[in-house]
């Protein structure tokens, strides 16, 4: 139901041509018209508990939306605001902030994102950012990298070490606070990721989403959920790229025959088919694990992200190769899938990171 209504909606409102259009419009990151309609569809409320007037539809549902968005390469704040921020806020015990943020997010009034990464590669650990006391007020200092939708968000949820307590804090920071500076960078997928500096940014006591040392735990679980959700988007990416390529193999003629009749292409296509079947299984299992609060969530998240990282690389490379010359032109849409997946492969950890984590979880 959700899947077909999402597909119908996106077919109409977010065709592949929209990505190109937004890119060509000076890397536009946000269509307020599209966002308003997504909010009306209830997508911002999908994973919010009923207690806070949300739909409590669960992550299998959100995963279907993300998968369909992956097919269309839809540019929207769903990953930053819904998948990542809403999940983190749900795990927080700060009821005042929860009530306020859920309301604002559901209504589509505010956009929110996690500002966490600090190095050249994904890591759950925090090395630089720190919360400390200065003249009796709390201040945040540090530098965050690769913040998704950083340039359009109203709030950042910043992870930082607490100077005295050695805990990880998760702090809600207004993006217009004094002491914040941006370096917005356009990436290969035509989306903007921000490097953000925090220089003695004042923090209110009430703006902590973590409490009693639960910051790192909340962060880890949020990252696992984000990894799985992103894997769902990647599943949409690879299915679409694969289907477009199969279509091309059935149409394009060389040497007087359809190129899809060549066995070298058939075997590689069959291998991709199998790999995509595996991807469907792990993404579904991992999404279900979020909903059932499965203790295997960390491992399943890493399996999903590692597998989708590898398969998205394989499929998008093959898709471009099998399209031949047209595949490397900007006229063809297939290149958008290659460029999007090169970014998502790294976001929330690449296959190397996650295979290492799988080994650690299994104690070797």
């Amino acid at each position: 139901m959700l899947k077909s209504s999402t597909k119908e909606f996106l077919d109409l409102k977010s065709p592949l041509s929209l990505v190109r259009e937004m890119r060509d419009n000076n890397y536009n990151q946000f269509s307020s018209e599209l966002w308003t309609e997504m909010v009306e569809m209830g997508w911002t409320a999908l994973t919010i508990p009923e207690k806070y007037n949300g739909l409590n539809f669960g992550y299998v549902g959100l995963g279907q939306v993300l998968e369909e968005m992956g097919r269309k390469l839809t540019v929207s704040p769903i990953i930053s605001t819904v998948l990542t921020s809403t999940s983190l806020i749900s795990l927080s015990k700060n009821e005042v902030l929860k009530n306020m943020l859920f309301q604002e997010i559901m209504n589509g009034n505010k956009l929110c994102t996690l500002a966490h990464e600090e190095g050249s590669h994904h890591s759950p650990n925090i090395e630089i950012s720190i919360v400390s006391k200065k003249d009796d007020v709390l201040v945040l200092n540090g530098k965050k990298r690769f913040v998704i939708d950083g340039s359009i968000s109203d709030y950042f949820i910043v992870s930082a070490n607490h100077e005295s307590e050695k805990n990880v804090d998760l702090i809600l920071v207004d993006s217009k606070s004094e002491g914040i500076s941006f370096n917005n960078k356009v990436h290969m997928d035509s989306r903007i990721y921000s490097d953000i500096s925090f220089d003695n940014v004042k923090i209110e006591k009430d703006n902590f989403l973590s409490s009693n040392g639960d910051g790192f735990e909340i962060l880890e679980k949020t990252l696992d959920i984000a990894r799985i959700g992103l894997a769902a988007e990647m599943l949409g990416n690879v299915q679409q790229a694969f289907e477009m390529t199969m279509q091309y193999l059935k149409e394009r003629e060389q040497f007087g025959v359809k190129i899809g009749s060549f066995q070298s292409l058939q075997h590689r296509s069959a291998l991709m088919f199998g790999e995509i079947e595996l991807c469907k299984s792990i993404v579904l299992k991992a999404l279900q694990a979020i909903d059932s609060d499965d203790e295997k969530l960390p491992e399943l998240a890493s399996l999903a992200k590692a597998k989708l990282g590898q398969v998205s690389k394989l499929v998008t490379n093959e898709a471009v190769q099998m399209h031949g010359g047209i595949g490397v032109t900007d006229d063809a849409d297939i290149g958008f899938f290659l460029k999007r997946t090169r970014v998502t492969q790294r976001t929330f950890g690449d296959s190397n990171f996650h295979l290492d984590r799988v080994a650690k979880i299994n104690k070797y």
């Binding site: 059935k250 296509s269 299984s281």
Partner: protein, 397 residues
Amino acid sequence: METQVKVDLTNFRLETRKWLEENCPISMREPITDAKQLYWGGSKGKFSSEDQEIWFERMLQKKWIVPYWEEKYGGGGLNPKQNNILNQEMSRLGCRKPHINFGISMLGPALLKFASDEQKLYYLNQICKGEVRWVQGYSEPNAGSDLANLQTKADDNGDHFLVTGSKVWTSYGDKGDYIFCLVRTDTSSKHTGISFLLIDMNSEGVTTRPIKLISGKSPFTETFFDSVKVPKKNLVGTLNDGWTIAKYLLTHERQMIGGIGETDKKKSLSEIAIDVLGKNEGILSDTSIRSKISNLEMNEKIFDLTIQRALDEHKAGNNSGAASSFFKYYGTELSIQKEELRLEVNGFNSTEWTSEESRNGLEARYFCRSKGHSIEGGTHEVQLNIIAKRILGLPTK
């Protein structure tokens, strides 16, 4: 109504559990470590222990040699839910299967779908008693991947066929009583000139010769037919329509071979690697092997999830015969990769062939045997062809 069904199933489970606990000998609850511990039945079948015989006889009396076939065929008449419960209860206790036979796993499903009532009654009842050991005669020296090129001919000779030719890769051909064969009954057409014939291996003119594999073992034979008389009533299905049956049967075979990788040793590869290579700062010291293991483990786990998903979808009524090609391909590919990786992990010990310490080169021989997985039951390449054509609908020209 629904609650009554539930109550009945619960009772069935409790009764089954009790019966198994009382009747399955303790030694028949231990994991199988050697193929000899399986009972294959037939005229040459021997029990390897007294307990094995007791277990077989008790299950036979219970009609649980093939519990899910109809009672008129000698089966236990269990419905799918009951059969599922029996399987669960057997694996709960670790009960071994009382009898293994290609007649159950391969020929049976084909007979149920294509044979005449008379044939079904006769052959299925035999199978349920374990009286006949069935073997398969498909491949020929010049009909491997191109199976439909088979040349063993069955000439119409009045009330019988006269069969002449040879088959290769007959698993346990020397131990079989009957062989189900694909034979050529029309030379003017390739796929529609093939018939499905059941042949008594004790007939005059049937001989076998063992094939020794690179693993040093020989589970296979060549089977020769020299003017063998086969009664016409041994034809299954329609004359010249045997290819339909063959395709159906190959689907079953692929699913079986695809599961080969599961019969695994007690220790995981990562545990073996830690024993052999040690740890450094909490992780396996050889980080290159470590990531290979982790990658394989990822694919094994996701493949298991995929089998589970296919079963769930099958229950929901979505079925794709061609998908079995993918399971055959991927399942065997994983087992092949695992055997390769095992050699990397075990180093010098891995190629050891004859010592007592290596249990007569058990792992080295497993490795060699695994090279057949991507060939038997349709090669990797044939499976990929099937996926490309039947699932992806890629053009032939």
